[in-house]
Symmetry: C2
Subunit: 264 residues, 2 copies
């Protein structure tokens, strides 16, 4: 997969992401609009300088603290997240001991099952790989932790209040009962509905003006794989307490400043 | 096509463009990366306020003057341009009495023939439709003008100097012999090669920092269908002479200012 992109290429990460997404589209994992959404993100990331800004580092730290303090966290994934970062998301879920829920806006049985199969395949691969740096309990405990990650989404036995139709569907054991949801690349309607349902919603969104970015509890304005490279070690290292005075608007304003100077 | 998007929807144009592109992808007209490229454009257009700026109006006027003054103009189209604006491009070619050349970066026989078939279908539809406002010569002359538009690209009997492999291919009767090329959504390598070959290259690109935008003779930083809604009447109305002192960098700097204030 993507073997023909040399790692030394200055645009390696960007080209690899495009490759992963176009392959996922060919494999039926993505909605029609998923590639267009990725392109929008690319443009914002370009203006951000394709780096994790200081305020994004702060938001990642706050998300870490909230996930570790949560009573019942869940990681919610869509097609783009599975295509770009299935292994990293599985690693985070193993460290947190929490489920991953496939929850997609344009829900079809074919896409749901394709995504759950892909996650199950990647779960085996992550189990067999070395534990991440910072994992202190040895390989067998790592395998057990990864094996224990529930992969939810198929049942759709819960509903997100305030939404209609298939996009209201969720898992009773996942999003429905969670207090803290880490959901990269979320739709605006659903983010607002989850907030209205009293949940903490931690999002990753490269557009600081999107409805998702503005509605979320904590918005990480950054590219998903960079975020997860930082989040996993932070989850392993432990973190301080959540900041009860967290000012998410300040994060969004800072990201806008970065974009304005990036376009200078 | 796209009948279920109400024209009153505030995001009608954006949703229609997405629909046209996802349908074109399903029909095999687009390269894998085409939807991602469209998404990047969407993000820049969002920051521009989804409107034609004053400097873009100036660039459209300059492109009009250069096309009308050209000895041998050609309109070069790729998959996204055909998906979004085949009819408008055919109308412009009919007014200019010039060819349309299908010229794509990821050239395959399947995509080339799919695009040429689509253009031939749209050519019939444009012939049968009413002439555009400003066309003074009547319906029969309009039909004759549209009918006379050569659709090039299949032959690939020319080469763009300085490029290797299939992306160097072009038509001897089209790009190869043209003095002025209007090429929306062009690749950076190819734009630079066409400039190096001594041609005037008029581009439409929403990213004012792209290599295409920086290399072109005239860069219209605007969304393609808005540009063509303005270009066709201008071509019909006639225009002044090309500005031999044209400062394309000033256009790019102005677009960057607009993006910075759009992100404010």
């Amino acid at each position: 997969m993507a073997d023909d992109i040399p790692e030394s290429h200055p645009r390696y990460r960007s080209l690899l992401a495009r490759r992963l997404l176009t392959e996922a589209a060919a494999d039926g994992l993505l909605a029609e609009s998923a590639l267009i959404a990725h392109g929008r993100g690319e443009a914002f990331d370009y203006l951000l300088g394709e780096r994790t800004t200081a305020s994004a580092h702060r938001a990642i730290g706050e998300a870490t603290a909230r996930l570790l303090a949560a009573g019942s966290p869940v990681l919610s994934v869509n097609g783009n997240t599975v295509a770009l970062a299935a292994d990293q998301m599985l690693g985070c879920a193993a460290v947190l001991g929490c489920p991953i829920e496939v929850n997609i806006y344009y829900r079809t049985p074919e896409r749901m099952s394709a995504l759950l199969v892909r996650l199950a395949e990647r779960k085996l691969a992550v189990m067999r790989a070395d534990p991440p740096d910072g994992w202190a309990e040895g390989s067998e405990a790592w395998q057990a932790a990864v094996l224990a990650v529930p992969l939810l989404g198929d049942a759709a036995d819960g509903r997100i209040p305030g939404l209609d139709g298939p996009r209201a569907a969720c898992s009773r054991d996942g999003i429905m009962q969670a207090d803290v949801i880490f959901v990269p690349l979320e739709d605006g309607d659903r983010c607002e509905a989850l907030i209205a349902a009293g949940k903490q919603v931690l999002v990753v969104d490269l557009n600081p003006l999107s409805r998702t970015a503005r509605a979320a509890t904590v918005t990480i304005v950054d590219e998903l794989t960079r975020v997860l490279e930082e989040l996993l070690p932070l989850l392993l290292a432990g973190a301080g307490s959540p900041d009860m005075e967290w000012d998410n608007d300040a994060i969004l304003l800072d990201a806008l400043d970065e974009i304005r100077s990036g376009a200078a």
